[in-house]
């Protein structure tokens, strides 16, 4: 109830912020600002409470702070009357019918995915492997503390997992994935604002949003607990607010917008190390002129806003391990300055070879969409038909056309955006990481938006051809992207997998373990998708993931709580079974679920 109250009040504060910002700007600015403020009102108060717990000032982390902070913001916004009028729009024409129709078609798979997720449970790969199990662990421990050691997954900055923890805290588990719809909206609003800022018409900027939303990685991440979309949305919404306000009549930046944009950058920095370089670039973009505030004052506002949702993670890592960037090691010229894991240990440098057979094949990836294993589209793969048709050509055409534009933002900003994309790519190369599609999501969004000045011109010059391309691409995307959720829904109806245990294919026993029971996922490390399923319907089982199971079972069982060991087909060999029996575990009959075996140690 407390988690639900916090989320509802944060959404109320976001809506009020959006209305206030829209009153002095546009609805897209309101949406971008509302997304950032609403998210920050969930993340920052939880970090504050977690810091108090880690400092020993409170015994356990409470889910109450977001409700308190949001209620205060709602009260403050209600007490202040909105001022200002909407800024005059140089292009008052409505969005074209073709773009609206394409939007409806692209919306079909989003609707089907929503239905699938709302009627089911979290299901995406990394999400159920470790993002959501981390949020469950926080709920169980009442702490965001880290242990260091080999479990680097639990030591990364994790703003998105805080939102997931609040969503899981409501008891409606699928909310942890459906809540990413807000990220898709924030990303779309940010993309629209950048498009308008670089001179695109309303219809062309909307088409740019459609390009972004038709990227399969964006669609799949919208309905997942992967964190790349969350960080990208925070960053692009922040950049959109900066670009739009600075380019409108070339006005200096409003201090309030600067603070919101800073929060967006900070949210991205606290999401994942892959956002550190792009967020730093966006943060620099905000540091120019600010209206009515001295330079030191503007710097203080901005620095405070950037640090508010990010500083906690660096402080936590410093206090626990002595390295503020932990789990990322800091090395210079081969010397380790701060211990941790090298980027190559966190992500296999050859990971990208799942999507291309050699680095040169990236040049053809939008048209080939090769994938070594599994369906071509997923949270980490696929750019889609509209991207292939319009983005590579559109970006080049925008850059060529910019020579003919008058000196100003419409000419300068696309070049700066491209420069930013190149700098991030070079930074990756320097840390020895091969490119990976989902880590490049901010760059993909920016490339989509960069086509909008070109789309503005071609819409006027050849409206029928542009309409044909947009609608054809949208129909191909809509049909292909609808297949996955449609098959899932049909399968769920056919096999009646509405209950959690049937949905995940785990023994019903998992949902009725005693409150403090440990559930050991005794499987090879690659079978980590049961980590979240084994937490049980009430999320009270303490799951030991496969990569910790061996060490956990090496020690003799102890403590008052029972330990359940679960082994899924293909079963581990007879020696593993004999070892469990010799330690004192006894087998449990699971006649209703022959794909599983289980053992129990009853506790003392």
């Amino acid at each position: 109830v407390i988690a639900a109250l916090g989320l509802v009040l944060a959404v109320a504060a976001a809506i009020m912020t959006a209305r206030r910002v829209a009153a002095g700007g546009s609805r897209a600015e309101g949406l971008a600002a509302g997304f950032i403020v609403g998210t920050a009102l969930v993340v920052v108060p939880i970090q504050f409470g977690a810091a108090l717990e880690l400092l020993g000032l409170v015994p356990t982390l409470s889910l109450l702070p977001p409700a308190v902070a949001s209620a205060m913001v709602v009260g403050w916004l209600r007490a202040r009357s909105a001022s200002g009028r909407p800024a005059p729009d140089p292009d008052p024409s409505p969005i074209g019918r073709v773009e609206l129709a394409a939007g409806l078609i692209i919306g079909v798979p989003y609707f089907l995915f929503s239905l699938d997720r709302i009627t089911g449970f979290p299901v995406t790969w990394d999400g159920v492997a470790y993002h959501l199990p981390l949020a469950v662990k926080w709920l169980q421990d009442g702490s965001l503390g880290i242990e260091g050691g080999a479990n680097w997954r639990g030591s990364l900055p994790a703003n998105a997992e805080i939102v997931a923890m609040m969503a899981l805290g409501t008891g409606w588990q699928s909310l942890a994935e459906v809540s990413n719809l807000a990220s898709a909206a924030g990303l779309g609003a940010g993309g629209y604002l950048i498009g308008r800022g670089i001179g695109a018409s309303r219809s062309a900027a909307w088409a740019g949003v459609l390009l972004i939303l038709s990227v399969p990685v964006v669609l799949y991440q919208t309905f997942s607990s992967y964190v790349d979309l969350f960080g990208t949305a925070s960053l692009i919404a922040a950049l959109g607010l900066i670009v739009r306000q600075r380019t409108r009549e070339r006005s200096p930046l409003d201090a309030g917008v600067l603070a919101v944009a800073g929060l967006g950058c900070g949210l991205a920095i606290g999401t994942k190390p892959t956002f550190w370089v792009p967020a730093a670039i966006v943060a620099i973009a905000g540091l120019v002129r600010v209206r009515g505030v001295s330079v030191p004052g503007a710097l203080a506002i901005y620095a405070g806003a950037v640090l508010a949702p990010a500083l906690f993670w660096f402080g936590r890592a410093l206090g626990t391990t002595g390295n503020p960037f932990y789990p990322v090691a800091v090395e210079i010229a081969g010397r380790t300055l701060l211990a941790g894991f090298r980027p190559s240990e966190l992500v296999n440098p050859e990971y990208y070879l799942g999507l291309v057979r050699s680095p040169i094949e990236w040049l053809g990836y939008p048209w080939i969409e090769y994938k070594r294993a599994g369906y071509g589209w997923s949270p980490g793969s696929g750019l889609g038909p509209l991207f292939a048709a319009l983005v590579p050509i559109g970006v080049i055409a925008t850059l060529v056309q910019s020579r003919h534009r008058p000196v100003g933002p419409a000419r300068l900003i696309p070049l700066l955006l491209l420069g930013g994309v190149v700098v991030v790519a070079v930074a990756w190369w320097l840390v020895g990481q091969g490119p990976h599609l989902r880590f490049a999501l901010p760059m993909i969004a920016i490339l989509c938006v960069m086509t909008t000045p070109w789309l503005t011109d071609v819409r006027v010059a050849r409206p029928r051809i542009v309409a044909g391309l947009l609608l054809t691409g949208a129909v191909v995307f809509g049909k292909m992207a609808s297949l996955d959720p449609a098959v899932r829904l049909a399968s769920r109806i056919r096999h009646q997998t509405w209950s959690r245990d049937r949905f995940y294919g785990v023994p019903p026993l998992v949902d009725s373990l005693p409150a403090c029971a440990a559930a050991v996922n005794f499987n090879p490390p690659r079978e980590f998708w049961s980590n979240f399923a084994l937490a049980g319907h009430r999320l009270t089982n303490r799951v030991i993931p496969p990569w910790e199971a061996r060490d956990f079972l090496d020690g003799p069982p102890a403590g008052p709580c029972p330990i359940y060991v679960f082994d899924r087909e293909p079963f581990l060999d007879a020696s593993a079974e004999a070892r469990l029996t010799s330690i004192g575990y006894r087998p449990l009959p699971l006649s209703e679920q022959p794909a599983w075996r289980a053992w129990v140690w009853p506790g003392r």
Binding site: E369, G376, G394
Partner: protein, 48 residues
């Protein structure tokens, strides 16, 4: 006039390349091939 004409030519060329680009996607994308394969498999399973 020359600039406007060259600009128009650029737009036409870019649109022509976009059409080729979309057709190339439909011809070469493995995701499209996956979709057609799965769609065919589903159709043969559900349609007698």
């Amino acid at each position: 006039v020359t600039s406007a004409r060259s600009s128009r030519r650029l737009l036409d060329l870019s649109l022509a390349l976009s059409i080729v680009s979309l057709l190339s996607y439909l011809a070469f994308s493995e995701a499209v091939r996956d979709f057609l394969t799965i769609g065919h498999r589903l159709a043969t399973r559900f349609v007698p």
